[in-house]
């Protein structure tokens, strides 16, 4: 076995080990503390969990490719809200009045286009100005949220289309629509990152940008495509979620970037780029949702969930460091 292989195996499997731990803990603790009679490991409960993971999970897949690429996107929550407003509002526009239920695909398309465009705008700015993605998306997080508020002030935007609700609440082979979307996106991004030239180049750019430039990889367009992808996925997440709920508050999606980044980092993606996997992120998403649900199951409130998730994020970072320590002889700088 090569040196470091153990720690790598530990890291690779860590997220799944963590999920198993959570399942065991909540099942046992649930026996004593639970307010409901059903077991935590109930099959229906797990299916529900998958569905509830969808909004964060779909965006997290996009964040994985953006972070592997060596960037970060803090504006996803605002993009999510913009797409939701476009979706719900466009269905009431007079020009689409004659379309009947055909307005649904049109509204979807518009929402997805809006998300993609806002994502691509971030990417374009990062590419053309050379400003760090953290700063660019920090700015657009404020700017995009401002656009959301400019649209309808602090009032919610609502529109219920029952055909849409039926679609969103439908189940196919036992899985909810949202779950199917999550699985499809996971598969799609996994294929993109492991099988395509674009995906492999994204790794190369995040790992060693100068080497990528020297090898003639066009770094800028790759980054912009990835920002467009995360914008698209933020919009897709909104489309899936608001098709069912039918009402969006201008504050919706706030702190999504936090949850999404937590899931991606828990899933083992390197903050500096170059390493990470969609499967790991999927594990991270499930682990977070398990934690939220599990803590709810044993009677803890949202405050505890926030506290625990924050501390777990730090603990993961700490463990990662301990596994990478090089022993006593290492240089202390």
């Amino acid at each position: 076995m090569q040196p470091g292989a153990l720690s790598k195996a530990l890291k690779g499997g860590a997220i799944w080990g963590f999920i198993v731990l959570e399942l065991i803990f909540f099942s046992i603790a649930g026996q004593f503390l639970s307010l409901s009679d059903t077991a935590f490991m109930d099959f229906d409960n797990m299916l529900l969990l998958l569905k509830q993971s969808a909004p964060i999970g779909i965006i997290a897949m996009g964040m994985t490719i953006v972070m592997v690429n060596g960037n970060i996107d803090l504006s996803v929550g605002a993009t999510f809200a913009i797409a939701a407003i476009v979706l719900l509002d466009s269905m009431t526009w007079p020009i689409f009045a004659g379309l009947g239920d055909w307005v649904i695909p049109v509204a979807w398309l518009l929402a997805l286009l809006a998300g993609t465009a806002f994502g691509a705008l971030n990417g374009l700015i990062v590419w053309k100005t050379g400003v760090d993605a953290f700063i660019v998306t920090l700015g657009s997080m404020l700017g995009y949220r401002g656009i959301v508020f400019l649209f309808n002030g602090e009032n919610p935007t609502s529109h219920l289309n029952w055909t849409l609700v039926d679609f969103a609440e439908a189940e196919f082979l036992g899985l909810a629509t949202a779950s199917w979307f999550l699985l499809a996106v996971t598969l799609g991004i996994w294929l993109l990152m492991t099988r395509t030239v674009h995906g492999r180049n994204a790794y190369a750019i995040g790992d060693n940008r100068e080497a990528a430039v020297n090898a003639g990889i066009r770094v800028g367009p790759h980054m912009m495509i990835n920002f467009a992808i995360i914008g698209f996925l933020a919009a897709l997440s909104a489309v899936v979620f608001y098709s069912e709920s039918g009402s969006v508050n201008p504050n919706d999606g706030q702190l999504y970037e936090l949850w999404v980044i937590t899931a991606v980092v828990l899933g083992g993606t390197k903050i500096t780029g170059g390493a990470g996997s969609v499967i790991g992120t999927f594990g991270g998403v499930i682990a977070i949702q398990l934690l939220r649900k599990g803590l709810g199951h044993i009677g803890a409130d949202t405050s505890t969930v926030n506290l625990v998730i924050g501390l777990i994020l730090i603990a993961v970072l700490f463990l990662d460091r301990q596994l990478n320590l090089k022993g006593k002889e290492a240089l202390r700088i």
Partner: protein
């Protein structure tokens, strides 16, 4: 030769940067099947010339020809498409990716929908790796390879395309002798196929072993092209530096004082083992060995940056423990580190602040830094070390390498250490400053400092040292006095050949 057209010809290339004429009418051409060395001191313009060739910089004047055709290089991709391949000195690899992906970085074979054609990729890679006779395969993760093997991956890139010209930039810096043999075979193969090879290196013995012609640059200007077979090292050196380099042995010996620093049986994990030596005040002890022999690690241990696993460090006869650089500094040890820009200086800070950084806590007027005292320290060492800068407000990032190094040395001299360790003091410094720094090190010893000089350049070690410690693979092989040392015995000792027995 006249009927054969060069594969690559650069003519009268001019490149200026704000305030600098980096290339001033440089011409350079490579014949098919030729190995052409490009030589020059650091800063002579070699890398700028290669960047112009690779399309990373656009020339302000002159032209590039490939065969008969005049070409304009818009970027690395175009250079590669035209059959020019660069083997970079700094590894430019993505560690998380596989060997195959790294070798074909930027031009992975595609299938439909932008998918990677893994089968073709692995087949092609394995064929190349077989030629290189290496012990890893296409799927190995590059981060898991040794530095030397990573260098081989870099070299493998030259074999991916139908190359017309290959540029090797210091390819042997981290290779073992066995790996060098493989590399030279690869170069010979390329040569037979009619590829024109540009070989950039500082190692004379390699240059004279494998090249056909040598072109020399100095200060961005073309100095001339020599037939390797008809010239010698001295002539090339003279062309490179414009005069003869003073490589005489350390001439003066002065009174040595007490033992300032003694190390007994020091070990640090697998980095080095059972190292013992001593330095007297007034003495310069040179540490010579190959990269990775453990010299820098010893210096870092003495400076409190590493914890030794065994052994003792005695300062003026007293057993000491050094837990941090602050500790070492307080006990009178100073280190001028190997990597000037990475470890020695805060490039964005001005000259004065860099120089007084280790003692900023002691230079106080009330709660504030005593800026007057700082300026007088700076002035003192600027004059003493002849640092050329417009003033203390200048950012050190804007100074030349030699002046930067003097700032670092000044920083440590102003701490009035008893033991001064200098690691590769003249790396990347022009020749003029080089001999100034050599003189400075000698005169510091004369003033009673105990000086340890770590260097990979034999002339430097021979020139400045009173005694030389030869290291090989983490062990001290032998200690020479400056009278008994010969180049041959030194080379034998650092190659691990009978160092103990030699007379």
């Amino acid at each position: 030769m006249s009927h054969v057209k060069p594969v690559l010809h650069l003519e009268d290339i001019v490149k200026t940067f704000p305030g600098v004429r980096a290339l001033d009418g440089v011409s350079f051409s490579v014949m098919p099947g030729e190995v052409h060395a490009l030589m020059g001191e650091n800063g002579a313009g070699k890398s700028t010339l290669m960047k112009v060739l690779g399309g990373i910089h656009q020339p302000d004047g002159g032209a590039i020809f490939m065969g008969e055709e005049r070409v304009v290089m818009s970027g690395p991709l175009e250079a590669k498409a035209k059959g020019i391949v660069f083997i970079h000195q700094e590894l430019s690899l993505a560690e998380e990716l596989s060997v195959a992906e790294n070798i074909y970085l930027g031009e992975l074979p595609r299938k439909s929908f932008g998918r990677v054609d893994w089968v073709t990729l692995r087949e092609k890679t394995d064929a190349i790796l077989k030629k290189l006779n290496v012990a890893f395969n296409a799927r190995t993760r590059v981060g898991d390879l040794s530095i030397a093997n990573q260098q081989m991956v870099e070299i493998a890139r030259a074999l991916t395309v139908d190359a017309k010209a290959v540029i090797f930039d210091e390819p042997t810096a981290s290779l073992t002798d066995a790996e060098k043999v493989v590399l030279f075979d690869v170069i010979a193969d390329l040569q037979r196929e009619g590829v024109g090879i540009t070989y950039i290196s500082h190692r004379m013995e390699e240059i004279f072993k494998i090249t056909d012609r040598i072109t020399v640059l100095r200060d961005g200007q073309y100095q001339g092209t020599l037939e390797t077979a008809e010239t010698n090292e001295e002539a090339v050196t003279q062309l490179m530096i414009g005069r003869k380099l003073d490589l005489s042995r350390n001439p003066s010996h002065h009174e040595l004082g007490e033992i300032a620093l003694e190390v007994r049986g020091l070990s640090c994990g697998s980095l080095y083992e059972d190292v013992s030596f001593h330095v007297r005040s007034g003495e310069v002890v040179g540490f010579y060995g190959l990269v990775g022999a453990g010299r820098t690690e010893i210096a870092e241990t003495l400076f409190g940056l590493r914890t030794p696993s065994h052994g003792t460090i005695l300062l003026e006869g007293e057993d000491v423990r050094l837990n941090s650089p602050a500790d070492a500094i307080a006990k009178g040890i100073s280190l001028v580190p190997e990597d000037r820009k990475g470890q020695g200086l805060v490039l964005g800070m001005n000259c004065r602040d860099n120089m007084t950084l280790p003692q900023v806590d002691d230079l106080k007027a009330g709660p504030f830094v005593a800026e007057g005292a700082e300026i007088s320290i700076f002035d003192q060492y600027r004059d003493r070390l002849d640092i050329r800068t417009p003033g203390w407000k200048q950012k050190v990032g804007n100074l030349s390498g030699g002046n930067q190094q003097k700032i670092v040395i000044g920083k440590w001299l102003s701490m009035k250490p008893s033991v001064l360790i200098v690691d590769e003091p003249t790396r990347g410094i022009d020749v003029g400053s080089k001999s100034e720094i050599h003189k400075l090190l000698r005169s510091l010893a004369a003033q009673g400092y105990a000086v340890i000089v770590i260097s990979s350049e034999m002339p430097e070690v021979l020139h400045v040292s009173d005694r030389i410690v030869a290291m090989y693979s983490g062990r001290v092989m032998r200690t020479f006095t400056s009278e008994e040392v010969t180049e041959d015995s030194l080379i034998q000792a650092i190659s691990g050949l009978g160092g103990d027995k030699a007379a």
